[in-house]
């Protein structure tokens, strides 16, 4: 029997009072795929990720991650998932090694010290392992956050704007590391980003969100072709401004 898809979302809706943040979206993301979640501010990306992680309870609809219903069995899925966002910090007084140790224990990682050494090498953190996380630069913090997100060799990784606030060189380095990590672990990755170049480079499939709905989807190349544009940024602008595919 083949393993269940990485994510199955059916008619997922989240309302906050009168505001509908996510409006009946459905999609199935296969194992090992790298998908992008695109949309303007307030399109519902972070709310969707919050529901996928079990941090938010949907108003209606269902989410299954790695075959587990997130309403009833989320802890079994969470042990095999991980998450990174520049908007959620790690304890800044703890050193990098201590932070990785805390999360390694939380995720029940075997051979934890060796895993920390491997991640430190992969993300070039060896020189900072004993430095408090709060004293690192934005780029170094991003690398630590990604090392934390990979500590349990997740089968499903959710990344919310992983290269936000990074300079182009550091962002490019981070993307290379993500590609290498994905090649190593075979993890499925769902990536929310405003960086269209990043999504074009990393993602095989893109969900375009607008006002809480999936208004279009496809591979970056397919979307660019259908909208008759040069790149994904132009497609994004077309969708944001209500223009239809050609």
């Amino acid at each position: 029997m083949s393993p269940p898809p990485a994510i199955v979302v059916e008619s997922l809706t989240k309302r906050f009072g009168d505001v509908t943040a996510v409006d009946g979206i459905s999609f199935t993301m296969p194992r090992g795929a790298v998908w992008g979640l695109l949309g303007g501010n307030g399109a519902g990306k972070t709310t969707t990720i919050g529901m996928l992680l079990g941090l938010l309870i949907p108003t209606s609809g269902s989410v299954r991650c790695l075959g587990h219903d997130m309403a009833t069995d989320r802890f079994a899925a969470l042990a095999r998932m991980n998450f990174s966002s520049p908007y959620v910090a790690l304890p800044h007084r703890l050193s990098v090694a201590e932070n990785l140790r805390v999360y390694g224990h939380l995720y029940g990682v075997d051979g934890l010290e060796a895993r920390i050494r491997d991640l430190a090498r992969a993300f070039e953190l060896e020189a900072f392992l004993d430095r408090p996380a709060g004293q690192l630069s934005a780029g170094q913090k991003t690398r630590v956050a990604l090392a934390k997100a990979l500590i349990n060799r997740p089968d499903l990784l959710l990344l919310d704007e992983p290269t936000a606030s990074l300079d182009p060189d550091t962002a490019d380095w981070v993307r290379s590391r993500l590609e290498a990590a994905r090649a190593e672990t075979g993890a499925a990755i769902l990536l929310a980003s405003h960086n269209m170049g990043e999504v074009e480079r990393l993602c095989s499939h893109v969900l375009m969100l607008k006002q809480g709905r999936i208004v279009d989807q496809g591979s970056p190349a397919d979307l660019i072709r259908r909208y008759g544009r040069e790149d994904l940024e132009e497609v994004f602008l077309d969708i944001a401004r209500g223009r239809r595919a050609a």
Binding site: F16, T46, T47, G50, L53, G54, L55, L56, I57, F75, L78, A79, M81, N82, F83, S85, Y87, V88, A89, L90, P91, H92, R93, L94, S95, E98, R101, V102, Y103, H105, L106, Y107, G108, V109, D110, P132, K148
Partner: protein
């Protein structure tokens, strides 16, 4: 042990101990207030005892025992609630709650931290009481261990209520983490018998586990007996309060998931 509840609880304990290892002001703060309280009340007790040996000496003992044991409840409650606030201050709740840790495991870890913080705060104060005033907490007998445990439990129960309010109202409710038990002090009958209170206040007082503990302390120090009825009442009340306020915590946790507050909890 991979992925076991014990390992997740120890992970959170390790997180907080690593924080204290790197922050001596936090360690100093743990000891500062209980020791200061003990010094001030110790001198008051010494002065009282010098006025008229005998009855006032008992009063001095009751006073010092009360100060020390009430600190147990205060430190226990603060230790739990402030450890939870540390996660909010470091904007770490989002990472914590997408890990496989269950809310009850987090509660267990916060209880563990509360115990360690309480011992770090109260033991130096108890040492000062013995060193400067010749007051040994165990003068009341081994029943003091039961008093200590019952007051710890009361602190945890109150802290569960405080953290439930923080989950509901955000860090704006954090002042409760420091102040809430001070408001209970008049009803806890730390320094006087419950019968001293006006009748309506006595009814409230009898619902406070600490009031039974301090009735028990006075019985031990003055009458030399173990007041089992008060110990049993304190235990029953603690269990009831912990169940009720633990339930409130879990309900507010689900409420925070409903509102999306776990990622954005703050002011």
């Amino acid at each position: 042990m991979s992925g076991s509840p014990a390992r997740r609880v120890l992970a959170v304990l390790y997180r907080h101990l690593a924080l204290y290892r790197r922050s001596w002001p936090r360690v100093f703060e743990l000891m500062y207030w209980p020791s200061l309280q003990m010094l001030v009340w110790g001198f008051v007790s010494a002065w009282l005892a010098s006025l008229q040996p005998g009855a006032t000496q008992f009063a001095a003992g009751v006073l010092l025992g009360g100060v020390l044991l009430w600190e147990v409840a205060l430190r226990s409650q603060m230790g739990f609630a402030i450890s939870f606030l540390e996660e909010i201050w470091s904007r770490n709740l989002g990472h914590l709650f997408v890990s496989p840790i269950r809310p009850v495991e987090l509660i267990a870890a916060l209880i563990g931290m509360s115990l360690l913080r309480t011992l770090a705060g109260v033991l130096p104060a108890a040492g000062l009481a013995w060193l400067f005033y010749g007051f040994g907490l165990f003068d009341a007998g081994p029943v003091v261990v039961a008093f200590f445990a019952l007051l710890l439990m009361m602190g945890w129960a109150v802290a569960l209520g405080v953290t439930a309010l923080i989950l509901r109202h955000g860090a704006g409710a954090e002042a409760l983490a420091w102040g809430v038990l001070f408001g209970v002090t008049p009803f806890a009958a730390v320094f006087y018998p419950v019968s001293t209170l006006p009748l309506p206040m006595q009814f409230v007082s009898l619902a406070v586990p600490a009031a039974h503990v301090f009735e028990g302390l006075r019985a031990a120090l003055i009458e030399g007996r173990t007041a089992w009825e008060h110990l049993a009442a304190a235990l029953a009340l603690n269990l009831a309060w912990m169940a009720a306020l633990g339930g409130l915590f879990l309900r507010q946790f689900e409420g925070a998931r409903e509102r999306g507050a776990l990622l954005a909890i703050g002011e």
